[in-house]
Amino acid sequence: MKMMNGNEAVARGAFEAGVKVASGFPGTPSTEVMDYTQQRYPDIYCEWSTNEKVGLEVAIGASFAGYRSLAVMKTVGLHVAADALGGAAGSQINGGLVLVVGDDVGRIAGDDYNDVRHYGNMFNIPVLEPSDSQEAKDLMIRAFEISEEYSTPVILKITSVICKTTSAVAIDEDYTYKVKCRKKYTVSFSKVIMTTMMMNAKGSEHPKLVKCFNDFPAHMKRLAADSNGFDINKLELKGNKIGVITAGTPYFYTKEVLPDASILKLGMVMPLPEKLIRELAAHVEKLYVIEDGHDIMEKNIKDLGIVVIGKELFPKFPEMMRFTPDIIEEKLLPDAPKRTLMEGIPFRLPVSCAGCSHLFISQILRKHKIKASADVTCGLIGCFPHMESYSLQKCMGSSIALAHGYNVATDHKEKFVGMIGDGGFWATGINGLMNLIFNDSQSTTIIVDNSCLAMTGGQHVASSEFGFNYKPENKLEIAKVCEAIGVKDIVTVDAYEFENLEKAILNAVKADTNSVVIVEKPCVTKFKLPKGDAYSIDQELCTQCRKCINIGCLAIESKKGKDGKVEIVINEDLCVGCGLCSTACKFDAIKS
C-alpha cells in the first residue's frame, strides 16, 4: 500500500494502463496528473501543449497510431477542446483515448461552477468517476479498456476533492511498463462522415464502405446494457427506507451519514445502468440522488421515468458549492445537532505575491486611469475592489480581442488596453492579436512575460527556457512573433524599471497605431528570485492614506500595534525589496 492523492493515483493508473502519450494543458485541480506522470514515469511521452484543444488533438492522433493516449485538463479547458472532443466522439478508436478532466467543485481554487459530465451527455460518451485514490487508479485503467472495447473516447471525471485527498492505494512496486499497439482500424472519421455512411450505406458489404463505417449508436447501446453488470457499479442493498444513487466522494459522505441506506454507487456515471437503478427504486420507499456538481444523473434518471429526489431537497449552486456530510445530515437527519460558524471572521481575499510584475502594471494602469481588460492570469487580482485596475475580465486568452471589440465599438476614441500573460498569449490570445492586425485595429496589448504559467504553479510555455521537451533552438520569441504578425510598435521593458515601464505604456496608449508592450520579469515565486533589502514605513511620515496597500502587495499589512493603534507596516519576511510601494507613497514614508 502507498499513500497517494488522486492526481498521483491517476498518473499511476496511466502508467499501469501502458499509456504512451500524455498531453494537455494545466488547470487546477488536475495539473499534477501530468507533473507526476512526467516525473515518475519517464517511459511516457509527456507534453504541455499550447492549449487544451491542441492537447486533445495530439492525444487523438496518438490514439489513431494505435497507442493508449491521455489528455489532461480542467473542465473550463474542455470548453476550449470541446470541438476536438466532438470530432473524436463516435469515431473509430485504436489505442484507448481517455480525457482526465478536473472539476473544481467547491471553487476551492476560484474556478467557475462547471460539470464535465455535460460533455458525456452532449457527445454521448462514457464518464467514469472515482471516489478515492484506489478507484482513481483502477478506473484509469478501466477507462482505457472501455475506450477500446466500445470504440469511444472516455472521460475520467476527477474533482478538487479527489485530487487533493490522500489515501492508500495497492501498488505492485515491481510492475513493469508495457505498451501495446492496437491498430484495429485503418481510418477514423468524425461523425459527419459516419452519419453520411449510415444513412446511405448501412448494411452494405462493400469493403470500402464497411471500412469507413462505425456504428457508434450500437456501441453505446451495448455499453449501457453491459453497465448493469460492471463491478464498478455497486448495488449495496440494505434497509428499505432510504435509497441513494451516488458517485464520487459523495458516496462516502452518504455511507457515513446514512449507514443503513441502500446505495447504488456508480463508478460509471454515464451511461446509466438502468436495471440496477430500477432494482434499487423497487427496494426502497424514498430514492435520492446525491451527486456533486450539476443535476445531471438526476435528470437522466428522471428521463427514465423513475422518481428520485434531488435538487428539490438539495438545491445546487449558489445554495450549495459541493456536497458535504453535513449537508446530507442536515437534510435527511433533521434532529442532528446544528453547528454554526462564528460570525464576523474576516475573509481572505487573494493577493499577489510580493514583488510580482503584475503589480507594477496594475499600478500604472490605475495611476493613469487607463481602461483595460485582464486575462486569466495571476494579474487578475487587479480586478478586485481594492485595486480596481481592470474593468473587464473573461476567459483565458480573451483580453486582446475584448479590448479590440471595445475599441472598434468606440471608434478608437478611448484606447482600451488588453493585458495578457505569456501563457494566455500562446494558448489562444495570439489569435486575438492576428485578428486585430488584419482588421486594422489600433489596440494596445500588454504581454506579461514571466516565463511560465504562474497562476497554475509555473509550468513552461512556448517562450520559456525550460520544459519537458525543451531545446534552446525551439524556444519561441514573443517579440519576433508579434513582429511577424505585423504589429507596428513593439517595446520590451523590465517590469522593475518603473519609470521606463510607465513611459512605454503611456506612449503605446497615446500612439494611433497598434502596439505591444512586452513586460519582462520572471515570476518571483516560480523562479525564487533573490530578495533585495526589505522596505519599511516611517510611522512619523505615514498619514495612513493607504495608497500603498491598494497596490495589492502581500507584504503590506494594516496592523493593530501593542497600544491598539492601527499602523501600516511592511512584513519583513515577505517583502522582496522591489520598491513598488515607495512609488505609490506621496509622503516619502516608504524607504529601503
Binding site: 499513500m3 467547491g106 476551492i108 481554487a109 476560484g110 478515492d132 476533492v161 487533493k164 485527498t165 490522500t166 489515501s167 492508500a168 466522494t249 462516502f252 459522505y253 455511507k255 457515513e256 451519514v257 458535504t324 456530510p325 453535513d326 445530515e329 445537532p337 453547528r339 454554526t340 460558524l341 462564528m342 464576523g344 471572521i345 474576516p346 475573509f347 481572505r348 481575499l349 487573494p350 493577493v351 499577489s352 505575491c353 487580482i381 475592489p385 481594492h386 515565486t525 493607504r546 496597500i549 491598494n550 502581500l554 503590506i556 499589512e557 494594516s558 496592523k559 493593530k560 519576511d573
Partner: protein, 203 residues
Amino acid sequence: MQDTGKNIIIAGVGGQGILLFSNLLSKYYMKLGYELKISDVIGLGQRGGGVESHFRYSTKPVLSPFIKAGDVDYLLSFEQTETLRYLHCLKEDGIVFSSTFELSTSSVNTRLEKDMPESKTELIKRSGLKTFIIDPEEYKSTDFDISKMMNIVMLAIYAEFRGYSHEEMIQIVRESVPEKFIAGNIKAYEKGISIAREMTPNP
C-alpha cells in the same frame, strides 16, 4: 490498539508548512497500522490564502474525506483567525492547539471589511473548549526563528500531548526532510517538547 481513531483539522495560511506537517503525522499513524484519509483544502496558498487539512485516522476504513462539523477531536491551528473558523467543528470535549500568530487578512488591510473588535486570543480562550495557546513571540530567540519552524514545533507538542514516541517522530522527520534541514528540524522538535511541557490548558 486502544485508540480506534481520531479526527483532526490542521489549519493555517499558505507557507506555514502545513502539508509537511500532515505528511509527517500520516507516516507516524501508518507505522502504527492505521487507515488514513487526508484531505487538503487549499485556497490560493502561496498568496496569503487559508489552508485547511482534514486528517482522519482509524482502525476501520475511513469513509468521508471531510470531517463533519461537531466530529473534530483536535484542532491544530497555526494562525488564530483560522482557529476561529473551525471552533464550531469540535466535539464538546475536543481540544484546540492554537498559535497566536496572526496574518492580517487582505480584506481588512484594504478596509473592505472591519476586523473583529474583540481580541482573537480571548475569543479562542472563551470558546468553552479546552485550549492550549502558543505564543511564538515568547519563544523567539536570536538563534532560533520559531515562526519558520512552527510545523515541527506543533508536531512535537501534539506528540507530547498524545504520549507518542518522540524517538519515532524524530526518525520520521529525519527520513522525510532534505539532509541540510535535518539538524534545524530536530532542534525545533526539541524546542516543541519543552514548550509542550510548560503549557497549561485553558480553562
